[in-house]
């Protein structure tokens, strides 16, 4: 899911490391290696490590970049304020509710489409694959504008289609109830990468397993349930993690739909949007830093919990 096109990670395709063979050059080899890697080291220190420490420190202050000299240390006040700020809990609720809708929906569609375009019985598989991937390549702001039009209460094609089958569609983007589902629907255009990773997973299932299941009398559903799903559970797990992290980074679509205000009635005030509003229009940067650290803790906790529980349902035998 790439409601935001944010971080990925590695898939289990790391080639086995080779033993370097340049012997007797150890010292110069080390220096050369460090020289080539130095852009990363310098960049890491300048743009990651130091800013991380700084933001931890800033989160304990009332820093305003317009008056950097008037900074005062306020201890854990920002964190205390976070706990009592109704907008923080509200924005977390908005984010989690969205993730609960969008993540299963996107994963489901991506897997369904992957099964479809991976089928031996489909003509023009590459064309379909390209078409299902293509919306990923549309700039997110542009695709959001297209969806805003499609979701328009009276002139949008979604409600026109719904009324053709006798359903009175809601005013999607102006309704506090429906704006969440509308954004989840928009997120479906980001299934491309997930779909490709699912396809790679599906193609990695040895066909002997399907033959064996057939011999045991398994039908299509049973062989999907007992062969395909366990065999692709590692890619499912990978896609799930990426999707969850992405949903906590959700920003652009919410910003464009509400012009950055979180309308209607705060229903699109995602955690990230609230953080942005605190940090930039309002310059409450100490507070925004504290919010960022809370986000780090949430994302880390989520990742750890998922990895801990993954042993129960992710099948690690077989090829991987």
């Amino acid at each position: 899911m790439t409601m935001t096109r944010t971080p990925g990670g590695q898939l289990a395709v790391v080639a086995p490391p080779r033993r370097p063979r340049w012997r007797g050059l150890t010292d110069r080899e080390s220096l050369n290696g460090l020289l080539f890697v130095s852009p990363f080291i310098v960049g890491f220190v300048l743009f990651q490590a130091l800013p991380m420490v700084a933001s931890l420190l800033l989160s304990l202050t009332d820093f305003d970049p317009r008056e950097p000299d008037e900074i005062t240390f306020i201890g854990f006040d920002n964190y205390a304020r976070l706990l009592s700020d109704p907008n923080v809990s509200h924005s977390l609720f908005v984010t989690v509710r969205f993730a609960a809708m969008a993540v299963p929906l996107t994963l489901g569609l991506a897997l369904g489409v992957a099964l479809l375009v991976n089928s031996q019985r489909l003509a023009g598989r590459n064309i379909f694959r390209t078409l299902f991937y293509m919306p990923m390549q549309i700039p997110i702001v542009a695709s959001t504008l297209v969806w805003i039009g499609v979701l328009h209460a009276t002139t949008g094609w979604l409600n026109i289609s719904l009324s053709a089958v006798g359903v009175d569609g809601p005013n999607w983007l102006q309704s506090q109830t429906w704006v969440g589902p509308a954004l989840a629907l928009m997120g479906l255009w980001g299934i491309g990468n997930m779909m490709l990773i699912f396809i790679a997973g599906l193609q990695g299932v040895p066909s002997e397993l399907y033959d064996a299941a057939k011999v045991d009398g398994a039908g299509t559903v049973a062989s999907f349930r007992h062969v395909t799903l366990p065999m692709i559970s590692p890619v499912l797990f990978y896609n799930l993690i990426i999707a969850l992290i992405a949903s906590f980074q959700y920003f652009t679509q919410a910003f464009v739909v509400s012009n950055g205000r979180g309308d209607p009635g705060g229903a699109t005030l995602f955690y990230n949007l609230y953080l942005y509003r605190q940090g930039f229009p309002f310059f409450n940067m100490g507070y925004a830093s504290a919010m960022a650290w809370v986000l780090v803790v949430i994302v880390l906790a989520l990742t750890i919990v998922l990895f801990r529980t993954s042993g129960r349902w992710v099948f690690e035998g077989g090829q991987r």
Binding site: N32, G33, V150, W157, M285
Partner: protein
Amino acid sequence: MSSVAQASSRPISTTGPLRRQIRRFTAVSGLTMLALVVVSMFLMPLAYMVTTSFKDQSQLTAVGAPLYPAAPAKFKYQGEMLDVYDVPTPDGEVHAWALVQGHREDAFFVDPANVEAGEITWIGRWRTLQQHWSFELRTDNFVNAWNAIEFPRLFFNTFAIAGLSTIGAVLSAICVAYGFSRFRFPGRNGLFLLMLATIILPFQVTLIPQYAIFLQLGWVGTWLPLIVPHFFSNAYNVFLLRQYFLTIPRELDEAAMIDGAGPFRILRSVIVPQARAAIVAVSLFHFFWAWNEFFLPLVYLQSVPDLQPLAVGLAHFNSLYSQEPTLIQAAAIMAMALPVLVFFLAQRAFMRGVVFSGVEK
């Protein structure tokens, strides 16, 4: 991609009895029909976008207007422009006739296809008739959007920011990937893991101190914060390139070494030519990632509209013209044309890159 698909496909018997072939044909056409239905629903918003961008604003809200771009038909008759209506006749047909004169309970029409037949008297209330729409493409939305949003400037800014940051990102990623894949040095694996860990670190946590530093340097309101950090490599690009470099046989390096080439020579004349496909993929990924990037340009270029890239300009445009979907959709088409075109031309490189590294960006 396709080679993988072919390799895994089971051979299909074509010599089987006719019946089996028919069954297979039915299965193939059934599934393909299903896929066509799904993909048309999936891409329906694009059809909305294209048709809307060619419509006149008034068509959107007009009752009885078709979904395709059209205008109410007119017919010039005896020096007057007449409105054309869909007129039902007792024989069950519907004619597109031009209204010459309407009364309460009857009306005079003329058939534009057969003017010589003269005026036709029609019994009924003409006010209940629907206007006849004829297909018509309006291109002025594109012209208006182009001028309103100053597209040339936005394109130039986007190209410059994305291009410069791609140069930095690709050059630095090549160096770092080469360092990680070809040299032994203390702490190499630890550094590599550290680099991968930066992928899951939410960027918000470094955002505010970075902003404060760039503000001190006087870089806020310039392109520098969007370009300079990319010259220090990033994890996705390095990971993808390193994976690829590892597949290049080390014997090639060694042969060059025996010829007296140093590490830079080897990188330039052995590794880079061998890894051209991966470098192209990384460049494309990075360029279009930078093309799409919204958050950081929003933060750093908020107060300088003249320097903003397309994504930020488009969002601003949307807030100004949200009442005119025809203009908005025309602008969206112009903003997506290049990335989509390049994607179709280079789709193999894109999709292989995703699977090769499992990286999404």
